[in-house]
Symmetry: none
Subunit: 222 residues, 4 copies
DNA sequence: GATGAATGAGGGTTCATTCAT
DNA sequence: AATGAATGAACCCTCATTCAT
């Protein structure tokens, strides 16, 4: 399943973590295509060959980091579970706020997670991107279906379509809104984690609520 | 204003167009950072030095292509003007449909236009991206403001926020939805323009209407 | 004799002078090998081919500039002739001060003159350098011979040797001393002529006198 | 301290020396700006990338060669120490003769050492040049100060000034004199080491003595 | 007489990957 | 298991010079 070799997984913990930290830093601050294995080993002061003992190639390393990022985000969500009694709107709010909180807390990991969604000619990266999109989409459709069943959402909509739009709002739209509100480029967060404090949760909740109102009520005047 | 040298602009039309076609092909199919001047000249069978007679550097060439792409899209819109009497919803629909029609017609150009929005370490590219985002955002806010004035949209919303969300829906969301409905990866359109026919305008309008209903009415059951 | 074509010499004066100014600027601020014909024509906005209509090649242009520099320096000296009654020491002082004054007045021309003395693999440049050295050396030997004849300088010295040493003092040594005294890099003079004012003639004469005392009296304590 | 990578320093001696020899040859026969990494690897028949495993860049390689040159000269001087009881004049003579002997013995190394003093637009080279000049100047001033203290040199002189002039005599002036006496261009020595034999030490000492007499006694007739 | 497009070799530099040790 | 030297293709870019117009 994992793309890391047994060699890597059996490494002494500190060595392994130092390696991960350096690779994380590199892929957080450069798109996949321009991230450099050479820079990673230079930073670490280890042999270049080691990377290829730990991972099949550059892409394998990247894949591994992305899987770690996903794993970390999942763990975070599990540790901050939403109240199962919550309605659709509150549940979405809780999830999104939780996700953003994590991104502010571990901006480098969040950034690497997003790298998997960027454009590239590398076909394996495109495939990865497709898979990630699919997972997210399926999850959203699931949530919407439940909400329809509970009567919270009207039943006359094509949920596949809705999921696409809702998904984009909570990724692209939210990011854009946050950037505009705070003046902080999210891509700079990874380089300077302190910026995260600027984006207090208050700010964050206000923006999320804006999205939710829009989604639930629509723009039309009554 | 333009980033192409007089040398380039005075080139015989066929030569100039052959060059543009090759450069377009390259930047449509690779992100800026990995697009290659070397490949372009190899494809054309011309000397590498020529590129630098035509443009200051790789970025200048890219900038020029992006400006051409924008120009072409503008021209298209001007040739398919929306009825000025249209209300907000119909006007948005007309615009979006028109934009997507163009993208299907000239997928390579559309792709290059989008390249300007991609992530990169190249600072000039980031600046370009920022500018483009700003322009689009301002335009959306303007349209929303007018709609509020005409009473088509309720007045209790933070239009800056709304613009971010609406914007993301009509870029990311729409793309995602279209891809899912048609099974056609938009990134493949540039490589094989024939795929565009698969996405009939009918299809397209259906998806846009889905977005508009969502935006105007919201998800909440009445 | 000259290395400029008739074409160039018959050019309208303003055009010719504009060309010279641009070429001067280029060769004053870059060593011969790295000076660029491309930059010159770019600065001027003229056709590259013109340069090769005016001069055989890059070296021809350089040679011409050097000859102009020499010519200008000669003219300056002729306009500030030393009193023929002056003894050796005063005559040298007058000459050196006059030469440096010129260099401060026309630093770009002075710089180009010195370019001919720099190292390069270009064989024609080496030859030029040799010629210039020879001229200067012969002149110095001449002056020394006269001084010996007049009894101002003792007759037991190998004047060829002395000329080498005196020559180096009034080129390298003087430059070094001036730089140290004033803090002004002479190579920066060409870029920013205003610096010249820092090096008032007073300063200059003091340094020259230092050299002359040394040359005439020697270091030895009596 | 050193600018060579561990990779380079751990290379098998023969390989390392072959590399140094080729780089030395290149930088001895071309000024920094026109020296070519490409030529070096072509000569050696190794991959271009290797150079950049060994050194950060072209300048790093150059810097390393210059430091080796300095080191070699220092070692030579240490192996031919001047009698500490010597007076100023004899000490200078010994030093200069020793330095020139080395230059004749290892002309390529001497040439590379001098390359650091040449003009260039490369700012790092200018800085290097400045540093070297400063070191030499300080050393000369020191020697002069001691000589004054010992009463060998008169005390009414500005030693800073004197150092500039004396310095130039023993670099530029001496070179010029030697070239004239022997007919051998010092720049050709590096290409054809055999020429060195032409310049016997006798010749050399005669020239140095010429300079010393001039410096100590001056030109003025008594 | 002036133009300026085309050339193509050359510049320094970075890269992911391999493989013998 | 770890090393790290070697590769060589690819990168963007600059150059002096030519020659048809």
């Amino acid at each position: 399943m994992t793309t890391a070799s047994a060699t890597f997984l059996n490494l002494p913990a500190d060595k392994r973590e130092r390696f991960i930290a350096a690779a994380l830093e590199e892929f957080a601050s450069h798109p996949y295509d321009t991230a450099s294995v050479t820079r990673i080993v230079a930073e670490l002061g280890i042999a270049k060959g080691s990377v290829y003992q730990y991972f099949k190639n550059k892409f394998g390393l990247f894949e591994y980091l992305v899987s770690l990022a996903t794993e970390r985000e999942m763990e975070w969500h599990e540790q901050h579970p939403a109240d199962p009694g919550l309605g659709f709107q509150d549940r979405v709010r809780a999830m999104v706020v939780s996700g953003l909180s994590w991104a502010l807390l571990e901006p480098r990991w969040a950034r690497v997670g997003l790298r998997a969604m960027e454009q590239s000619k590398e076909p394996r990266l495109q495939a990865l991107r497709k898979m990630q999109l699919e997972t997210g989409h399926a999850y959203t459709v699931g949530m919407l279906t439940e909400a329809v069943a509970r009567g919270e959402i009207r039943g006359d909509l094509d949920l596949e379509l809705v999921a696409s739009f809702v998904g984009s709002m909570f990724t692209g739209g939210l990011m854009d809104a946050l950037t505009r509100q705070s003046g902080v480029e999210l891509s700079d967060l990874a380089d300077d984690p302190d910026l995260g404090r600027t984006l207090s949760e208050l700010h964050l909740e206000r923006v999320v609520d804006g999205a939710l109102v829009l989604i639930m009520q629509g723009l039309a005047s009554r």
